[in-house]
């Protein structure tokens, strides 16, 4: 997808350059917490770190030795620090739709808390439509292959995080359509036994976001695939507050890049108490799996 804004700007000999700015290497070291609980049964992770100066080229300073707890009315998980600043539940942990979860992080006697409601995904979309299309390799006869288009990132019924993973079958060689000459990158992946040819994650927004449109446009790429490929889509529910937080983060990061179409700057407001930053979220995960096996 092409960025649109540069098409305006390049006409006017504009330029972007990095500059120095006073105070760009100072930081207060406030606590930053990023974590989530989902309905997936797995080890869930909470990251604890500190703020950094504006100009950074290193990861955030992790905070070790914190006591991290996730609990609801029906369950309680005490997280274990696996690497500095990274705290995980046991691998059997999961969240339940309809419950409210409390995250509590205690650092040197200071308590940071956040609440998150695990709401259901209000609307479960249909799986992506896989179609048969004609593919014409260069200098070779046309052949029929399968194709699907990623759902659009704008105009969704409800906000959600979307993941899609495309895994070609182990016997890809045998199901690749006769006459199709696989691109080199695919052959390289297959040689390394890497069958996941696509693993994409993005947010789906109910509205239109002009800064996003002009930053990277609308997601509507298509993906060629073959019979036997598994397409696994995952939708993560989001509360309105969680979505507002994510939207704010995107407004200040991905959508900020080109200045002219960015929103007026504003702070990202999370749900961490005690002047903490970041967000603790809870999501239902709905997975849709399909394995197209034949051409129409």
């Amino acid at each position: 997808m092409k960025k649109l804004s540069y098409l305006f700007l390049f006409l006017f000999v504009s330029c972007i350059e990095t500059i120095d700015w006073p105070g760009d290497n100072e930081s207060t070291g406030r606590i930053v917490i990023e974590g989530e609980i989902t309905t997936d049964t797995m080890a869930h992770t909470v990251y604890v770190s500190r703020t950094q100066p504006v100009i950074v080229d290193s990861p955030a300073e992790p905070v070790s030795g914190a006591v991290v707890l996730i609990e609801s009315d029906s369950r309680s998980y005490l997280l274990r620090e696996t690497t500095p600043g990274v705290y995980q539940t046991e691998s059997s942990a999961f969240g339940v739709v309809g419950e409210s979860y409390l995250l509590q992080v205690v650092i040197d006697g200071e308590i940071y808390e956040a609440n998150a409601d695990l709401i259901p995904l209000e609307l479960i979309p249909d799986p992506v439509e896989v179609r048969t299309v004609i593919f014409k390799p260069p200098n070779r006869p046309a052949i029929e292959v399968l194709d699907f288009i990623y759902p659009s990132n704008f105009g969704s019924e409800v906000p959600a995080r979307y993941q899609v993973s495309v895994r070609i079958p182990d016997n890809a060689d045998s199901v690749i359509a006769t006459g199709y000459e696989a691109p080199q990158w695919l052959l390289s992946e297959l040689e390394q036994n890497n069958f996941i040819v696509s693993d994409t994650s993005y947010y789906m927004h109910p509205g239109l976001e002009p800064p996003a449109i002009f930053a990277y446009g609308e997601t509507n790429e298509s993906r060629l695939t073959f019979p036997g490929t598994s397409i696994v889509e995952a939708y993560f529910s989001m509360t309105p507050e969680h979505y507002d937080f994510v939207r704010s983060v995107l407004s200040e990061t991905e959508w900020r890049g080109l200045g002219p179409f960015g929103f007026i700057p504003g702070n990202v407001v999370g749900n961490i108490s005690n002047d903490g930053l970041g967000y603790f979220s809870a999501s239902q995960v709905v997975r849709l799996t399909q394995i197209p096996v034949q051409l129409d």
Partner: protein
């Protein structure tokens, strides 16, 4: 020299002049035509002898038929014969014969007429008409021609000299004997058409040489299009809006933008009118160019202090732009070819000296260069704008004139490969009837139409997405000017506007968009221009405005957290919300002495709509015009200003200093990261509060061959909005404490003109991060106090040279070449500063894990060449 010699010379001189007068009357000649009306016979005598006559047609009963007995004789004998049965007297003055009819004692005479440009017939607005008594040098009466070139003046009967003057034109003088009412039109010749010598041209940013101190105007400029043409222009595109940005009290949102901010008011608080119709978005190409084609324009008046009571609807300023009427005697073709666009204008008579037309068109062709790109998307992109101005006018008779004018313009941005379309544009229409009831009462009746709309269409084979927004007005206005006496002019009127707002809706499902709104905005006003004494001039007025929302829509009510708690559906034509209020307007001037004065003004203004925009650079494509509603109260401003004005060296220099204070109520700002597009509940994103602004504006202006001005302003603009910045006061986005403008024009020779301007402005406020945190791989900024930082200061020098062809006898066409350099020393002024992952180029991230401060600059040095022609 001895007294005796002096007296002798004086007597001889007086004797000579008396003798000359006597000699003129004794001029002997023969006439072929000896019968006809009095005026025909006088014209015949003028042809034969070259002697001119001055008289009031009514006082000499000019249409009365006379038959002369003799075909030869002296002038005196002929005159006595022509006026045999009427008591008249003859006076010789300045080689003319003044014929004076019988005078009425203690009578009044009312004169009226129209002031026009001699070659084209265009009305001249703001021309000074003075009547100097020939019997008493101390008696002089004056008036200014109104917005339609009309004037009226009531004076005691007697002989007068008309003196009609207007900046940039030769003064016309005519002697008359006023016995009763009379109609006197004047056609003034532009002084710039006389190129046999270097033209001493006064600056056209004001009306008359002494207007600076003599008028009651505070914060008002009249701008001649001819002056704007000489200013250096971005890409060579002469831009009337950009010229406004050079005036004191006006600040700009950023590089290249047509947005402007006046005395601490937001850009939506400026009312821009073209032939009285509102222009809601005066920008082409995201604001780099304005929608106004200078070839179609006559003049502009800009009010930033005292706004007369006949105008309303905006808080901060009025930009009143008038189109040309078209030359009513000759056809012309003119235009210009530049590097980014070309324009063409044709004008001429429909019925000679009775009716005329003008048609102007313009299109940019920058996008044609994109076709040569190697990149497919770029190649298949269309970005252009076009506009069209048209006007007809018809003089039904001496008392009635009809005008019909319109504007249509469009911007289009289309990426064909992706089927993306973004387009926007304005349309205006004006139907106007000027009627003269009698010598003192002038009427202007107007029907207006205005529309601004935009479309965002990003539909493709899988997703149909589009968004359409519009504001549309139909207005009826009636304005009356009543010239009570030379010292008193009363204006009254009314207007009513039907507003239709479509804040935004998708074509597929309009009901899912922001609820549409309809409103009726009406006003009545009264104003009085009264010269109380020789020193004190008072302009007072009162406007009453009424705003009523009606019709079918959805109303929301919100709690303190801006969550919807109630939704009501209105229907039919029921009025569901009313706002109203008085708007007093006061301006006075007190003459302190020779060439200096003190002025004071107070204005209250009400505004019933706002332009919603929360994009950081104000490139106003997706902005939304939104009305005051049950949730959003009307904006109100109160402004007080005081000024001292002085002219030097016989009006060669003009100095002014003005101080103002403005208080603003119900100002709108936005919750952080507000989404305005496709947000049905966008009112929940709006926050309101108060603001204030103050400043001092100083200007020194020079007239003459080298002309221009230097202005320095100190100004502040603050806002305090609930829910923003913890309700602490913060600088408005356009708060720029120091601004300097230096503008100069110089005629190097009859062929070369040089123009330059240098602008300086304090950097605009900006909110920059103080530290960052990491989330989901992003580097997220943390901001401090809103607008606590400042962009680097802005300054820029532009120069231009204009070359005219050599004068050739009989040359009918005019042409010129304009060479300009925008941003001569190529300063990379900051359009914005922001923090993001380190960028290599506009669309290329160098290092996602490293953040950096970036400065976006839009323009370096930009040369341009434009060829202008006129046949």
């Amino acid at each position: 020299m001895s007294i005796r010699t002096t007296l002798f010379i004086l007597l001889v001189t007086l004797g000579a002049s008396g003798s000359f007068a006597q000699d003129l009357l004794q001029t002997r000649f023969s006439l072929k035509k000896i019968s006809g009306t009095r005026v025909e016979l006088l014209n015949e005598i003028s042809k034969v002898t070259g002697i001119n006559f001055s008289y009031s047609p009514k006082s000499i009963r000019a249409q009365e038929k006379v038959e002369l007995k003799e075909s030869s004789g002296t002038l005196e004998e002929f005159l006595n014969a022509i006026f045999e049965n009427q008591s008249v007297s003859f006076q010789v003055r300045n080689k003319k014969v003044l014929i004076l009819g019988k005078q009425r004692e203690n009578g009044k005479a009312t004169v009226k007429g129209v002031i026009r440009e001699a070659s084209s017939g265009e009305m001249l607005i703001g021309a000074t008409v003075r009547l100097q008594s020939l019997e008493d040098d101390t008696k002089s009466f004056g008036v200014i021609s109104n917005l339609y070139g009309f004037y009226s003046l009531t004076v005691p009967t007697g002989p007068y000299r008309f003196i009609v003057s207007y900046i940039g034109y030769y003064t016309e003088s005519r002697e008359v004997d006023l016995e009763d009412q009379g109609s006197f039109d004047f056609d003034l010749v532009p002084s710039s058409t006389q190129l046999d010598e270097i033209v001493v041209e006064a600056s056209s940013y004001h009306e008359e040489p002494d207007h600076n101190y003599s008028s009651s105007d505070l914060g008002k400029n009249t701008i001649e299009i001819a002056t704007i043409r000489k200013l250096p222009a971005l890409f060579g595109e002469v831009d009337p809006i950009k010229s406004i940005q050079l005036l004191p009290g006006v600040s700009v949102s950023g590089e290249g933008s047509t947005n402007f901010y006046v005395r601490g008011g937001n850009s939506d608080q400026n009312l821009i009118q073209l032939d009285e119709a509102t222009v809601y978005n005066a920008s082409h190409m995201l604001g780099f160019f304005s929608v106004f084609n200078p070839d179609a324009l006559n003049y502009m008046q800009f009010y930033r202090g005292h706004i007369p009571a006949r105008f309303g609807g905006r808080l901060s300023s009025l930009l009143d732009i008038r189109m040309k009427d078209g030359d009513d005697s000759k056809y012309h073709l003119s235009g210009g070819i530049g590097i980014t666009s070309s324009r063409i204008t044709t004008e001429g008579p429909i019925v000679k000296e009775k009716s005329s037309f003008i048609l102007s068109a313009r299109r940019t062709y920058l996008d044609q260069f994109l076709r040569f790109s190697k990149d497919e998307f770029t190649r298949e992109t269309r970005i252009y704008f076009y506009d069209l101005n048209a006007k007809l006018n018809y003089r039904l008779n001496a008392k009635n004139r009809i005008f019909l004018s319109g504007y249509f313009g469009r911007d289009l941005n289309k990426i064909l490969v992706l089927q993306y379309v973004i387009d926007w544009g304005n349309a205006t229409g004006t139907l106007r009837w000027n009627h003269v009831f009698n010598d003192r009462l002038f009427s202007n009746t107007t029907l207006l139409y205005s529309k601004y709309d935009y479309l965002i269409d990003l539909s493709d084979e899988t997703t149909a997405f589009n968004w359409r927004s519009k504001v549309e007005d139909v207005t009826f206005k009636e304005d009356l000017d009543f010239y009570v006496n030379p010292n008193h002019l009363i204006k009254v009127g009314l207007q009513t506007t039907l507003h239709q707002f479509v804040p935004g809706q998708p074509d597929e499902d309009p009901s899912s968009g922001v609820p549409n709104k309809k409103a009726l905005e009406s006003a009545v006003y009264y104003s009085s221009d009264l010269e109380i004494s020789d020193r004190l001039l008072l302009n007072s007025g009162l406007r009453y405005s009424l705003y009523q929302l009606f019709g079918s829509t959805t109303l929301y009510r919100y709690d303190d957290s801006f969550n919807i708690i109630d939704e009501v559906q209105t229907s039919g034509k029921r009025i569901y919300k009313t706002y109203h209020g008085f708007e007093p307007r006061l301006s006075l001037r007190y003459l302190l002495g020779a060439e200096n004065s003190l002025k004071f003004s107070y204005n209250r203004n009400r505004q019933y709509m706002q332009l919603l925009s929360n994009l950081s650079l104000g490139l106003n494509v997706f902005d939304i015009w939104y009305p005051s509603t049950n949730q959003i109260k009307p904006q109100i401003s109160d402004q007080v200003s005081v000024g001292y004005f002085k002219n030097f060296k016989k009006n060669s220099y003009e100095f002014s200093v003005e101080i103002y204070y403005k208080r603003l109520q119900n100002q709108v700002d936005y919750a952080d990261h507000s989404s305005l597009i496709m947000n049905r509940e966008l009112e929940a994103s709006l926050r309101t509060g108060k603001g204030h602004a103050y400043g001092i504006e100083t200007t020194l202006r020079k007239n003459g061959r080298l002309n221009g001005w230097i202005s320095y302003n100190y100004s502040r603009a603050k806002r305090q909005i609930e829910g923003i910045n913890n309700f602490r006061e913060y600088p408005a986005l356009f708060d720029q404490p120091h601004t300097v403008s230096i503008v100069g024009n110089y005629s190097l020779s009859t062929r070369w003109e040089f123009s330059a301007n240098w602008n300086f402005a304090s950097g605009r406020p900006v909110t920059l991060p103080e530290e960052t945190f990491r989330y989901d791989g992003y580097i997220v900024p943390i901001y401090g106090t809103k607008n606590s930082g400042r962009l680097p200061d802005y300054h820029r020098l532009d120069v231009s040279f204009t070359l005219y062809p050599r004068e050739k006898p009989g040359r009918k066409n005019q042409s010129s070449w304009n060479f300009s350099l925008y941003n001569l020393y190529s300063r990379k002024n900051a359009a914005s500063v922001f923090v993001t992952s380190e960028l290599e180029d506009i669309d290329l991230v160098k290092n996602r894990d490293r953040s950096a401060f970036h400065k976006l600059s839009l323009f370096g040095i930009i040369p341009s060449i434009t060829y202008n022609f006129k046949f």
